[in-house]
């Protein structure tokens, strides 16, 4: 019994720190708040000292496949706080992690002439993954869509709450970004 428990204890240790209190956003709010919404492939993830050299952040570079809103050019960058530089690892918990070759859809904001940031923090990131049956691309996690039926609870396990097809997701986002509800 003891050895079984020790095994389970070891299960958790690879989880990175994630620790933020968020004001929740639905997909409509994210779509409206974002200056740009982009689908692309991650081509680099580079940690750096911030301009004031007081902490570390990470620049993620995307090879753009499509803009759902706004435009920043054929390649674009955004930043997430934290990163690993030399022997020091700064973990700003709640910051989403990215890996080269991942396909993502990110909702981006910007203040002045600075590198864009993700709107809604981790809420503004969706992953584009192959369907299990290899028939196409899905977007995950399932988006929290604005309610069209008044105030309604979100029920876990609801059969409608599944990863959605990429083209369906993008159609919805374009409509929401344009103000249609």
């Amino acid at each position: 019994m003891r050895s079984l428990l020790l095994l389970f204890t070891s299960l958790v240790l690879v989880l990175p720190a994630r620790a933020t209190v968020l004001v929740p956003a639905d997909l409509g709010e994210l779509s409206r708040d974002a200056l740009a919404i982009v689908r692309g492939r991650v081509v680099s993830v580079d940690a750096r000292w911030t301009d004031d050299r007081r902490t570390i952040d990470t620049i993620v570079t995307l090879e753009v496949e499509s803009y759902l809103k706004g435009t920043f050019g054929p390649t674009m960058q955004f930043r997430v706080p934290g990163g690993e530089l030399g022997r020091f690892r700064s973990i700003v918990v709640g910051a989403p992690a990215f890996a080269v070759d991942q396909r993502v859809i990110v909702f981006l904001g910007a203040h002045g002439p600075s590198v864009p940031y993700i709107v809604g923090f981790s809420q503004g990131v969706y992953r584009v993954v192959r369907a299990a049956d290899n028939t196409g691309w899905l977007v995950t996690p399932p988006p929290v869509l604005p309610s069209t039926a008044g105030t309604v609870p979100i029920v876990r396990g609801d059969v409608s709450r599944r990863p959605v097809a990429l083209d369906d997701f993008e159609r919805r986002v374009r409509a929401l970004a344009g103000g249609a509800r």
Partner: protein, 334 residues
């Protein structure tokens, strides 16, 4: 910046193999190929309070609200962590300066983040150098005893972040709703460590729940915690395959409390510690309403959310000071 000799701040990462079972997600990093969990080696953590202030919150009130939140955690009778106020500072949270600092910062780039906790770690030795908590000054804050309409309760948010500072990850024991006209809000939470904040004005998250107490006691067990409480463990499978990231909840119908955790490896295994001895109802649900990045490194571990809510087909007996023995829950696709 690398003033790692600052007394009391240099805390080592401790290997977690000394823990009997876990409730909760814990923070972990890989150092030199070794898996380590983040926790304070010394069970007395020192913190500084930044003297930056925001409208409506005097520095002394800020410090007092933080003090109440720290006290709530260290008052858990089955846990031994404590926290010491080390003084006011002009340092700010988020600076990699060797000081564990809590304070306000203006971060317009963190537009929906009320507060966040960060760690600075020596990637070679695994030393946890500091942990900071920032509160976003872009939001309206309150330190009023009964809360204030349209202002976020600082003590509640601090309680959540201090849980992180202590090494706890997020809990999924919460329920939300979509609002007519747009937006989402929390209906209820059975854990302070639920990642989505109650609406401004609420003080509902000032008290720890069973899930929080199980988590902190698991990290820093005190007294007879290991002997008095028990655990349930097992696997979740779908079509015979392991499920990663399933949310597993143990509900005690006598105490009406619940503690949760997740399946956390390629074998779909889970373990929930800190449970009161006796019968428990086991429920498995997909985390299909969540921002998964708040819980997992989804860049590495794809989370399966395509299954129906499933109850284990019998009550599970949690023995005092022991484990239920492996329970296998089979879920089906939506």
């Amino acid at each position: 910046m690398r003033r790692r000799a600052v007394a009391g701040l240099l805390v080592a990462v401790v290997f977690a193999q000394t823990q009997p079972a876990q409730a909760y997600l814990k923070f972990g990093v890989t150092i030199g190929g070794r898996r380590v969990t983040l926790k304070w080696a010394q069970r007395s953590a020192r913190y500084f309070v930044s003297d930056q202030r925001v409208p409506g919150v005097a520095t002394s009130d800020f410090q007092a609200a933080l003090g109440r939140a720290f006290t709530t955690w260290q008052s858990v009778p089955t846990a031994s962590i404590s926290y010491q106020f080390a003084g006011l500072t002009v340092a700010r949270p988020g600076q990699d300066d060797g000081l564990s600092t809590l304070g306000f910062e203006s971060r317009p780039d963190l537009d929906r983040v009320l507060a966040s906790t960060s760690f600075l770690i020596d990637g070679v030795t695994g030393e946890l150098i500091e942990s900071d908590i920032f509160f976003n000054s872009a939001f309206p804050w309150s330190v009023a005893q009964g809360g204030e309409a349209n202002r976020y309760d600082l003590e509640s948010i601090a309680l959540h972040e201090i849980g992180h500072m202590s090494g706890l990850g997020h809990s999924a024991l919460g329920e939300t709703e979509l609002r007519e006209g747009g937006g989402r809000r929390v209906l209820g939470a059975e854990a302070v460590m639920f990642p989505i904040a109650f609406t401004a004005g609420s003080t509902a998250a000032r008290a720890l729940k069973a899930d929080d107490i199980a988590g902190i006691s698991d990290l820093y067990p005190d007294g007879d915690f290991d002997q008095a409480e028990g655990s349930v463990s097992g696997r979740v499978t779908k079509d015979g395959q392991a499920v990663f990231g399933a949310h597993v909840v143990a509900y005690d119908p006598v105490t009406r409390t619940m503690v949760g955790n997740f399946t956390l490896n390629a074998q779909g295994q889970f373990s929930i510690g800190g449970l009161s001895p006796g019968m428990h109802i086991l429920r498995v649900e997909p985390l299909d309403d969540a921002d998964l990045d708040s819980f997992f490194d989804v860049a590495v571990n794809p989370v399966d959310v395509d299954f129906k809510v499933t109850f284990f087909d019998s009550l599970v007996v949690v023995p005092r000071g022991g484990d239920s023995g492996e329970v296998t829950v089979k879920v089906v696709r939506k």
